[in-house]
Amino acid sequence: MKKSFLYITLFASLFLAACSALQPVDRSKVPAAGPAPIIRIGEYQTFQLENGLKVIVVENHKLPRVSYQISLDVVPGLEGSKAGFVSMAGQLLKNGTATRSKAQIDESVDFIGANLGSSSRGVSGSCLKKHSSTLLEVMSDVLLNPSFPDDEIEKLRKQTLSGLASSQTDPNTISSRISDLSKYGSSHPYGEFETESSVKTITRDDLVRYYNTYFKPNVSYLVIVGDITPEEAKTQAEKYFGGWKRGNVSENKFKMPTIPAGNEVVFVPLPGAVQSVIDITYAIDLKPGTQEAITASVLNNILGGNSFQSRLIQNLREDKAYTYGAYSSISPDETVGSFSAGASVRNEVTDSAITQFLYEMDRLTKELIHDSTLTVVKNIMTGNFARSLESPQTVANFALNIEKYQLPKDYYETYLQKLNAVTADDLMKVAQKFIKPSNAYITVVGNKDVVGKLGRFAASGKVNLYNSDGSVFSDLKPVPDGVTANTVLGNYVEALGGAAKLSSIHSFEQEGNMAMGPMVLPVNIKAKEGGKFRMSVSMNGSPVMTTVCDGNKAKMESMGQASYPEGQELTQLRMQTDIKAELHYQDYGITPTLKGIGNIDGKEYYVVELLDSEGEVMSTDYFDISTSLRYKTVVVESADGNTSVNESVIHEYLVFDGIKMPSKVTINNGAMEMNTTKVIWNPKFEDKDFIVE
């Protein structure tokens, strides 16, 4: 009955196809789809051994192969200063047992053409069915009797250290490390990663302790997939893993990482990079198996899922050609989930690309998703789901999730219904909860040349620079013993003419000019102790810019516009007109700190940061080691989210009556040049010369 029905259907479709094949094709018409096929999820069996090991079996006889996977459902504790030992313990399981050396293990696995792997979360292997008992023999030995031989530990340590060295030039590895560190923090296991020093301190005891604490059958699953019956699976599971002893495994709990109050920009310089690896990321609290997680995955597919229709691909690749591919992910996790969106883009468009990422994120929280977009994304996700079922491993993963997260048994059977039920309103709610274009870590690994354009994305206006190992970035060399900020500044004062000589100066008048391109304007500065000064720039005999300070308040007049500098800006102005500033930094609330030795065009300089009373860096000064004189000052200013960097370089000092003064200074690579031609020490000034009206 059923068979003849099939036959008729087949004949009918052949007939129709034949008719249409004989007609000329209308190529402008999109072919209609046939009746939708039924999507069937394969079956699985579960049972439990006496020692608590839960077994999942997916029977699939298409190929004469079987795979076995032991999977630990644990959350290991913090590794701290020994970061890396958890991963090392996992790798070492297959590098020696009580009765087999690594060479013997490799030989037996390779001889049957099998695969065997071990990690901190379990052991897995696969082979042809006919070799399965040989593989299981070795696999259970590796799982139950690892011996952590000292020579294998040292070999792996050497390889791990070499691997760390080689990863220093891998932008993707660096990006994932620095993103994890930023969003989870170093006091969460997800934020930890191994470094040279942590790997060097790992001992055999750490490895054995990890194994003894977490490798227990009652917190583990055995997943068997392939050419095997449930009965055979049961016999094998009992024979090879029944002797595994149960034990208590305590649960580790961690504080939920917080998201930043405003966007933070984290940059790791990678010399010679021709692209920036961008990741916009933060931690989220999203649990697997919830309806919220399904809604979030729909939202993610619209934003940056693995399809050509995603907004990120359409915007950053197909419209702007900034990148080969831009993607996002919203990952649920029992401990802590994560949002991430990123791409590799050429250096020149780094900031433009970040702007587009933030724009697309923001849009999700403000514009309701259109019905047609929702239909498309559901079609895409239904198709992905259906295609994933080709692999029997998918069914095994479904079964594992149902067990691990205690989902309803029909969770995946009804997955497509749950997907179809998602509405635009649901998406808006989830977007507002999980899409945070103003509370993200924006991490960039790339060429140092691009860093200047990134400050504007940070709420603070500042970019946090890190090295690839997560330490704060510095390209400075350490200073020799005995050299401090005070000795550097003392030598500088000495080079200018000496503290005694400078202390004898109570007022001065300085004349010179300011050049901007072809325009040269005379400058006159009058200054008196107590922070009093008058600075004027004139054109054709009349002043075009005047700044006056009476010691407390200041006024700046330029082209008829008045402004009143205060705070850090005023302090800067006062210090610039105080030739004895270095002798009394404390009066300005400034603490100088020596950062190290920097290198500019092959010459070495002491680098001194001036910190204000709040510990913020006000400016960075470079003192020439050979002459002790100041060479360069860099001031980073941020206001309203915009950052500007002002750099002044002193090219020449002239001696005026025994005191050196900068006589030629260029600002911002020659955009402006200041020259001093004449200085008079201790002229007589009245206080009324410095009245601020």
Binding site: S13, L14, A17, A18, C19, A21, L22, V25, R27, A32, A33, G34, P35, A36, P37, I38, I39, K62, L63, R65, K102, A103, D106, V109, D110, F111, I112, G113, A114, L128, K155, K158, Q159, L161, S162, G163, A165, S166, Q168, T169, D170, P271, G272, Q275, S307, F308, Q309, R317, E318, A321, Y322, Y324, S344, R346, V376, G383, N384, A386, R387, E390
Partner: protein, 440 residues
């Protein structure tokens, strides 16, 4: 009446191959398009794939990267498909799609729910008949491809490894450049170049349509006739490189300065083209040296001497004679010359001593496992079938190629080592760290 026409159509010049594992049917359309069909109803999906016999080796100097660039452009649209709509049709139907380009061929695939087979055929026939590319598409994809090059090669650790190996190993054959091409050539490509390229290489008589999955072969054949039979056979001569790269012409050595920290040693040996009897011996030899933890290079250089983080030698099989790519990533502080010497010791050992029976059996077991495991997806099967037809003219090798491996003897392996792993037949490259590059 209709039934007679039907059976005539179906019987045509179709041949049924009774294969051991993977069953398939294959036939040619009048325009020269070769079609391969594989039926498998375990999942309601179908892979519709087209392989064009054109890769980077068909490019001309000054236009390197053309085949791959063009692959990007063929997603732009056609006479009946608007710009950017190609992927929409597939994805809205619940399908996935992509393509890739190698030295020898370009491969397009659509993975669809099986009720959308006709959509896949329509899309692929549009691409073959009258693809359309506008200037906005060219300029956008030019930048996208340049980003792909930066992302995959220029900005990756040791990203130029293959490029340097190929350009040092090939002096006359077009394998000397990579499918991604050079930045200059990518910048220089013009609309007219693409039109020529399309007319010459994107013709039915230079393509294989391979379909695998939940299909009825008879219905599928009719639909293929409907969409593909009207595509005219190509009129242009299809040029293929005839130049032969000289081998055994003396050892070439060079040092490549990179910013990466660990020294990397490359030894590349010229080997015969894929599919030749000696190729199978070389491939088994490389398996002996590199497959699994017990393989000779790993055991000696990585495990026992602890000189390297990784050491192996792999067959880079190509349509024209390819290479064995041997390489070691040295452990920190290890002299690459010492590592190279350790590699040489293992190569010499195979030349001087027959491998043991136990080792030969291991290699055969590994081959068997690999053959069973690789046909696990319909997309993979469709691609393998197309490969075997395109490169060897024998689609059934998907089932029988294993016997070519099983026929390799211990003596064949020794002979292959002696003949090909000779100093005069290799290029040796050291990738060395240059601290100056970190100061940029």
């Amino acid at each position: 009446m209709k039934k007679t026409v039907l059976s005539l159509l179906i019987m045509g010049h179709m041949t049924q191959v009774e294969a051991q594992d993977i069953k398939f049917t294959e036939f040619d359309l009048k325009n020269g398009l070769h079609v391969i069909l594989h039926e498998d109803h375990s999942t309601p999906i179908v892979a519709v794939t087209v392989m064009y016999h054109v890769g980077s080796k068909n490019e001309l100097p000054g236009r390197t990267g053309m085949a791959h660039f063009f692959e990007h452009l063929l997603f732009e649209g056609s006479e009946n498909i608007g710009r950017g709509q190609y992927s929409k049709y597939v994805e809205n139907a619940g399908g996935g799609l992509n393509a890739n380009t190698s030295f020898d061929r370009t491969f397009y695939y659509d993975l669809l729910p099986s009720n959308q087979l006709e959509l896949g055929l329509w899309l692929e026939s549009e691409r073959m008949l009258h693809a359309k590319v506008d200037i906005k598409g060219i300029e956008t994809q030019r930048e996208v491809v340049k980003e792909e090059k930066r992302q995959r090669i220029d900005n990756q650790p040791y990203g130029t490894l293959l490029q340097e190996t190929m350009s040092n190993s090939y002096k006359v054959h077009p394998y000397k450049w990579m499918p991604i091409g050079s930045m200059d050539d990518l910048n220089a490509a013009q609309e007219a170049d693409f039109i020529d390229f399309y007319k010459t290489f994107y013709v039915p008589n230079n393509a294989v349509l391979s379909i695998a999955g939940d299909i009825d072969p008879l219905v599928t054949r009719l639909l293929i006739e409907k969409y593909f039979s009207g595509i005219p056979r190509g009129k242009e001569f299809i040029p293929r490189p005839t130049v032969v790269e000289p081998t055994h012409s003396g050892e070439a050595r060079d040092t490549v300065w990179v910013k990466d920290q660990l020294p990397l040693v490359v030894q590349a040996y010229h080997i015969p083209a894929q599919g030749t009897p000696e190729y199978y011996a070389v491939d088994m030899l490389n398996q002996l040296l590199s497959e699994g933890g017990s393989s000779r290079l790993n055991r000696s250089v990585v495990e026992e001497k602890e000189l390297a983080l990784f050491c192996g030698a792999f067959s880079f099989g190509l349509e024209d004679p390819g290479l064995t790519l041997g390489f070691s990533m040295c452990n920190m502080g290890v002299d690459p010359a010492v590592v190279e010497e350790a590699m040489n010791e293992e190569f010499d050992k195979v030349k001087n001593e027959l491998i043991s029976d136990q080792e030969l059996q291991k290699l055969k077991n590994q081959v068997e496992n690999n053959f069973v495991s690789r046909n696990s997806t319909v997309a993979g099967i469709a691609e393998s079938l197309a490969n075997y037809h395109m490169y060897f003219g024998d689609t059934n090798l998907i089932n029988t190629e294993i016997s070519r491996y099983q026929a390799v003897s211990k003596q064949d392996i020794m002979n292959a080592a002696k003949k090909y792993y000779d100093k005069s037949n290799r290029v040796v490259l050291y990738f060395m760290h240059d601290p100056e590059l970190l100061k940029q």
